[in-house]
Symmetry: C2
Subunit: 233 residues, 2 copies
DNA sequence: GTCTATAAACGGATAGAC
DNA sequence: GTCTATCCGTTTATAGAC
């Protein structure tokens, strides 16, 4: 289908799709190289290892997509002219560059979500580093547009939203099943619109009057104890 | 630690924890049998296969938990005395039986979430059948408590909420990282309170005025086309 | 019921010819 | 750069002794 004739590029294309469809660990290099019309050794020659191939698949798309995300957020802030940017605008600035692309970008998007949910820590670490810059920028923008939400609550809600996004992207077929066919799980425009309205409402939810927000000393203590828990393993 | 002396029970205990911690596919029968102080053949003798062991781990907990879920929903509806049951009460009826249990139940809960997100269709199929009854009851109750939300929108939001839940349960450690240690990802009571308020707000979100809801003929068409898509593979 | 030993297959990585 | 052939570890599953 694609006009690429280069072996390296063909491997990236095939791996991207197969990883997205079945998961990284569930896809063998033999299966990839067979479908790409080459042989096992080609992967090690071009990418060094299976994880090298995974990383290359990520890098090919994530750089441009994340740059576009930042560009759109800048644009939204420019339009707001110092005023607050709406939650919905921020969410769209993050989601649209990944969703509105053609099918190739879509496969990588599914792969990213899969890797994010996978039990393999090495896989997730590869992703986290690629998202450092956008995570910082978008986290700050979202927090600024939610002045009434304390930091702790904010992070919880961000986590919930990330879970919604990943699950929806990865398990679109499941949604078709539980809805009896009412919902199309593979329509990116639909994911976008529904998720933005759901997520914005969840992020804006009234803070439970019963919940005591951590004081700054509690924050310091929590950070210290989290460090301890992390190093323990 | 546990006082069980039976090999079969010991295998279930060890498998439950290791599956929850590292994932089913990532955990070898060798690792399980070694930690359980027995040998590889014991698994096949007691459970037939690795998937048989997974199913047995599910069944041991899911039956009682799902029964308790239905009991609590009945109780909430009885208290409401024919009136509407609040969204929050329904969500709590579903979540508390899985979360408020002791550590053993918690491990199985993590495992269920993991299996739900895993790329292995066989794993998910084992779960879906176990949840048929509760899914129907809770789906109907939730929909009844959200009279303004059209069915299509409702299923999308349910899907988002399931994603939030699974991601939070499975990737609690990640939340600690992105929050810089502010949030504790392994505190079930905290997951419960935060997720209920976030989810209820998301489910109640105003329906986008621009979105056209499917008419009943569209619904029939969607079901038919979904059937076609499913059988195609 | 529990064990040892082994089968049978599959995985990623690599050496070396071309 | 590309290929074949092979190494070596790991996996699940099973046969058969006790």
């Amino acid at each position: 289908m694609t006009a690429t004739t280069d072996t390296r590029e063909r491997l990236l294309d095939v791996a991207e799709v197969m990883f997205a469809e079945r998961g990284v660990r569930e896809t063998s290099l033999r299966g990839i190289t067979q479908k790409a019309g080459t042989n096992l050794a080609a992967v090690n020659y071009h990418f060094g290892s299976k994880n090298g191939l995974v990383g290359a698949v990520f890098q090919r798309r994530l750089g441009p997509i994340n740059a576009e995300r930042l560009r759109r957020l800048d644009e939204a802030e420019r339009v707001a002219a110092g005023g607050p940017v709406t939650l919905e605008a921020i969410l769209r600035a993050f989601l649209e560059p990944a969703l509105h692309g053609r099918r190739d970008a879509h496969a990588c998007f599914v792969l990213v979500a899969r890797a994010h949910l996978a039990p393999d820590p090495e896989l997730r670490a590869m992703l986290m580093s690629a998202f450092d810059a956008v995570a910082a920028r978008f986290g700050a923008a979202l927090q600024a547009s939610l002045p009434g939400i304390p930091p702790t609550e904010f992070f919880w809600r961000m986590h919930f939203l990330i879970g919604s996004l990943c699950h929806t992207v990865v398990n679109g077929a499941l949604l078709e099943d539980i809805s009896g066919g009412l919902c199309r799980g593979d329509d990116d425009e639909e994911i976008l619109a529904r998720l933005v309205s759901f997520g914005a409402a969840g992020l804006r939810a009234a803070v439970d009057e019963g919940a005591r927000e951590a004081s700054s000393s509690d924050v310091a203590a929590a950070r210290a104890s989290a460090r301890k828990r992390r190093t323990r393993r």
